[in-house]
């Protein structure tokens, strides 16, 4: 049953993407990850290969798994002479990891992707806080200062 579900998901993706090869890599990564997520525990590459759309070579599966490992989307551990693999994120997580690489790699992405907002200068920030204070029905202070800043002290 797991097997059938994996197949159907894979076929669906192929149908949606008839242009094929160049986008294939991302598709394959997502497929391998989704198959791996069907496994209840750690799985071998052979197990993954068996449940994929048939025409993938074992080495290809290994390559894709290594690529996913480099992105942090899967983990592996040694079991005897082989590795067993486990999914560390879902498809959306994988997409997020890939997107971060795109965004971090492009210094002038602002020029390309119509971003919601652009960078602020310190003066802008002060001005903006004043405007937000004016605009908000609720306190704008601590909520917008960003939770990522390290706690002080």
């Amino acid at each position: 049953m797991d097997r059938g579900a994996g197949r159907r998901a894979g076929e669906g993706r192929h149908e949606r993407d008839p242009r094929g090869r160049r986008r294939g890599q991302g598709e394959l990564e997502a497929q391998v990850l989704s198959v791996l997520r069907l496994s209840s525990g750690p799985a071998t590459a052979a197990w993954v290969q068996e449940r994929l759309d048939g025409d993938l070579a074992y080495t290809t599966v290994m390559t894709i798994l290594s690529r996913l490992l480099a992105k942090g989307a899967v983990t592996r551990e040694r079991l005897g002479r082989a590795f067993v693999w486990q999914a560390a994120s879902d498809e959306a997580g994988l997409a997020a990891l890939r997107m971060r690489r795109v965004l971090d790699g492009e210094t002038d992405r602002e020029a390309v992707l119509a971003s919601f907002v652009t960078a602020l200068s310190p003066d802008d920030e002060r001005l903006l806080r004043g405007l937000l204070h004016e605009a908000s029905d609720m306190p704008a202070g601590p909520e917008v200062t960003g939770t990522e800043q390290a706690p002080e002290g």
């Binding site: 990850l33 997107m99 020029a111 390309v112 937000l132 704008a140």
Partner: protein, 312 residues
């Protein structure tokens, strides 16, 4: 052709006043279209004239690939070329071609890579990515209606439901309005002639304002839209992109928020002629027309001279 061939290189200056005034006095939609259109025409004319000057300049070089007849003394007499300008036009045109090509290539590469990063996700119009970095942007697609909004969970977590709706409406406005085409056009234009840089900045600002206004209309709440823009900028603003200097003048985001807190933009698409904005529009239109006419004049003149000089 005479001095007219040099005019399109400096006529972009006539568009500076309208770049400044259109932001304040026109509806952002009309302003974006007007500025992008003016910038595109001026850039094409400027590049065309650079190419004409280059032809004249290249014909003087020994060993050039052009027909010998083009460097006849008679042709030289008919085409008032300047030794320096003719030769300087060669590297200038090369620089324009390289810069434009790079801009276009980079644009397509970012789009391609971002689209590929989303491969394997269901093809819904909104892709929510679990990421601790706050970001939101519109990823255009070649096929209309297939563009996607990419937003991280960190960004959504900072906004309340109204503000989220404003954010989505803003990005949807970018996609349905095909704003990336205007942005790409003005970026290429600014590469073709640096005098067009203020037009690029103004167009980018107007496109954002256009999407802001659409969002405010869709959500029916200008203040919530203003809050969404402001909050999003504050959570992303901590890490400005490397290489971006901070300017003393208020940046685009505070001006966008202030505009949203004010009344809506005027509905009319063109300002009355006797206001500063109207006059600036007329000046820009006249400059664009003069640029186009000079280019045509120079092209026809050079074509006729060279046609006469080419042995057939």
């Amino acid at each position: 052709m005479g001095v007219f061939v040099f005019l399109p290189l400096v006529l972009p200056l006539t568009a500076w006043p309208v770049a400044r005034l259109a932001e304040q006095h026109l509806h952002p939609r009309s302003a974006t279209r007007l500025l992008a259109g003016v910038a595109a025409v001026l850039a094409v004319c400027s590049t065309l004239c650079l190419a004409l000057i280059m032809v004249v300049g290249t014909a003087q070089l020994p060993g050039n690939p052009l027909p010998d007849g083009w460097s006849d003394p008679e042709v030289r007499a008919a085409v008032p070329y300047d030794e320096v300008a003719g030769k300087a036009a060669i590297p200038a045109l090369l620089a324009v071609a390289v810069a434009g090509g790079r801009t276009l290539w980079r644009h397509l590469r970012v789009r391609r890579r971002a689209t590929r990063a989303l491969a394997g996700l269901p093809g819904s119009p909104v892709a929510v990515l679990p990421d601790s970095a706050p970001y939101a942007y519109a990823l255009p697609s070649r096929r209309p209606g297939r563009g996607r909004i990419v937003v991280s969970t960190a960004m959504l977590a900072r906004l309340d439901s109204r503000e989220r709706r404003a954010l989505f409406a803003h990005e949807r406005a970018h996609l349905t309005g095909r704003h990336h085409r205007y942005l790409l056009a003005v970026q290429l234009a600014a590469r073709a002639n640096p005098f067009l840089l203020p037009l690029r900045t103004a167009t980018e600002f107007c496109a954002e304002r256009w999407a802001d206004e659409e969002a405010a209309r869709a959500v029916g709440d200008r203040r919530a839209t203003a809050r969404a823009v402001g909050k999003a900028a504050l959570v992303t603003g901590g890490a400005p992109l490397a290489g971006l200097a901070s300017f003393a003048a208020p940046g685009p985001v505070p001006r966008r928020v202030a505009a949203l807190l004010g009344p809506g933009p005027p509905a009319r698409s063109l300002p009355p002629a006797l206001t500063p904005a109207g006059l600036a529009t007329l000046v820009a239109a006249a400059g664009t027309l003069a640029s186009a006419l000079s280019s045509v004049n120079a092209t026809v003149a050079l074509f006729l001279v060279l046609h006469a000089a080419t042995p057939l």
